[in-house]
Symmetry: C2
Subunit: 368 residues, 2 copies
């Protein structure tokens, strides 16, 4: 039932499946000529900010290179299945892909730290780690054996805790709770006695409505509103302790990237970083409006996880991360670097952003 | 004593002074040829992240255009004085400049909302406003009459409240307090009964040490450590309510920018956005380390402004912003748009980043 098991089962099949439809090897770069790339993503067509962000990346690269590099984007399933993206870019079937690093936990446990860690870094923290704290360099090391070069390409910001059909008053309420929550968050919930159910996006709503699921998490108000979860579950919990600032990625086939002249490599990197923060801005601006609609129009009951429940989840999350770090030396190395950087920005955050939100930012009523 | 008066006095003189050393009009763009631009900044040479950020911007543009656009950067006073940057770019003496929009409040009151508003938006909020909430478009409208195109180019994150020679227990402690604090923050302190003193950076330390100043603000731990303020004032207060996420700018002479081919305009925009978030990441990563050094090595006393004091300052800040908004129709329009967006992200922030910092992020001890 774990995403990694799903990955193990489909990973190899995927590589074989796409082999027959494989595009030509990346064209050798010729100055003044158009080079055409394919990008495969893990997102459904038109998924706001995630898929549209990948498309925006491709468009901006085309503009900034004056058409010298044109990237055609394929949503999940259009060329390869969502979970086949990593392999398709790794083996050069396509030149680049967009997804999130925790999708590849089954083959690269260390990848998880580069997307979302329960009780880990938020968007500002993880980006500081990537760009100014050695995080991106570590990520490059982790992906190098797979012939891949990663770049942050987006961030969801703090996610929501999820939709629940019952109130959550203590950690005991997770006993027997059937929840759709993938990845590391799911491992924490399993430790708390919950039953983790993994379902494709299209099946979640119906399962929740019928009571096959007691709860589900998704992203944040903007995406959750679109899924209509408010019709199937009454209680909308925050904060999203399990994904406090999920990083989305673009990854390049190493050979394809290295064939680019230096100026186009530089453009591709700058546009990836541009897209990263464009996406965070879209989430930040869009979630407020969607949240207001959920509360005022759809009468959603907004609830905060009780402090003691969060403390209990935090303990389980720490255990989980230590177990993940024990999987191999690379994971341990990444985990220790992540923890060290988290302490550094944590000290600063406690006297900067924390009092900003508590005492400087205006308070607004969330009542419907 | 106000920055704007300083600006009024020096603005015209500056334009005249640089006229004699004016560079040639921007070269007409020729494909395959190198176009050379000059960038003047408001920063001292080598000032970390601010001046080095401007230099990084120029370097990356050179790389991404394969040398088709080369920008030479001049620190404050090297070609024009700090406060002459706006005019020099506006009149085409140089093609671009780097600074912060509140420096130009004397000639464009509406510019202030695009840099820092007391009790306003933090970095994540103001960037969401720029890129996904119409803020950048408004900024372009405000600068258009001056022949300028603005882009965010950096962000300090939440600043520190400042260095004080005495404890601040209530708003009454501002009565007669001689503080170096420019701009809108200074107006708030003046309303509280303080005496606002404006001094060049190089004179602040000595004035503070000798008691000519009772207090000063600067930026954050990374920059404050460098200035040595801990040797002259014991109490280091947070949070920086007056500058909760100061945006730094790059501005282009409209004619020069429009002569660029579309692909290079696109590169320049992407690299500006890249530099914006690189700078925020540098502050986020650097401030934590500097703060630890200030506390453990230099035994600085870290103090939080009391809640009631912050509430009193908030009231004065609101009055100040309304007065500024009354100055002209453009300022009123920008102020209302800013307030509306602040409410939107404020609602979302109260259930995302706020509980992240309170309940999800680990707590670290700040003791020396």
């Amino acid at each position: 039932m774990k995403r990694r098991d799903f990955l193990k089962k489909t990973g190899t099949a995927t590589a074989a499946a796409v082999a027959s439809t494989a595009v030509a090897a990346p064209a050798v770069w010729a100055k003044g000529k158009t080079t055409r790339w394919k990008m495969v993503t893990t997102w459904p067509p038109n998924l706001p900010v995630l898929q549209t962000g990948a498309e925006r990346f491709a468009k901006r690269v085309g503009e900034a290179t004056d058409g010298r590099l044109k990237i055609k984007v394929f949503a999940a399933g259009e060329l390869v299945p969502a979970m086949g993206v990593f392999d398709a870019v790794s083996d050069g079937t396509v030149q680049c892909g967009s997804g999130a690093a925790y999708y590849w936990a089954g083959k690269v446990p260390a990848a998880q730290w580069f997307s979302a860690v329960p009780f880990g870094l938020n968007a500002q923290g993880i980006n500081a780690w990537f760009y100014s704290g050695g995080g991106l360099q570590l990520w490059e090391e982790v992906y190098a054996p797979f012939n891949l070069i990663p770049r942050p390409q987006g961030n969801t910001g703090v996610q929501m805790g999820g939709w629940f059909r019952k109130e959550m008053n203590s950690i005991a309420d997770y006993k027997g709770l059937k929840m759709r929550i993938p990845g590391l968050g799911g491992k924490v919930i399993a430790k708390a006695g919950g039953t983790v159910v993994l379902l494709p996006g299209g099946e979640i709503f119906t399962s929740l409505e019928r009571g096959v699921l007691d709860a589900t998490e998704w992203v944040g108000p903007m995406h959750d509103l679109r899924m209509g979860f408010y019709k199937a579950a009454k209680h909308y919990y925050y904060p999203g302790w399990h994904e406090p600032g999920t990083c989305l990625e673009v990854m390049f086939n190493k050979g394809a990237y290295e064939k680019l002249p230096k100026d186009i490599q530089c453009i591709v990197d700058a546009v990836a970083m541009e897209t990263n923060f464009w996406s965070l801005s879209e989430f930040e601006a869009g979630n407020g409006a969607a949240l207001q609609e959920l509360i005022t129009k759809h009468k959603v009951q907004l609830k905060k996880f009780p402090d003691a429940l969060l403390d209990d989840l935090r303990k389980l999350a720490k255990e989980t991360m230590e177990e993940e770090a024990d999987k191999d030396n690379v994971s341990r190395k990444v985990h220790e670097a992540f923890k060290k950087f988290k302490e550094r920005v944590g000290i600063w955050g406690s006297i900067s952003e924390n009092p900003y939100y508590n005492d400087v930012a205006d308070k607004y009523s969330l009542k419907g």
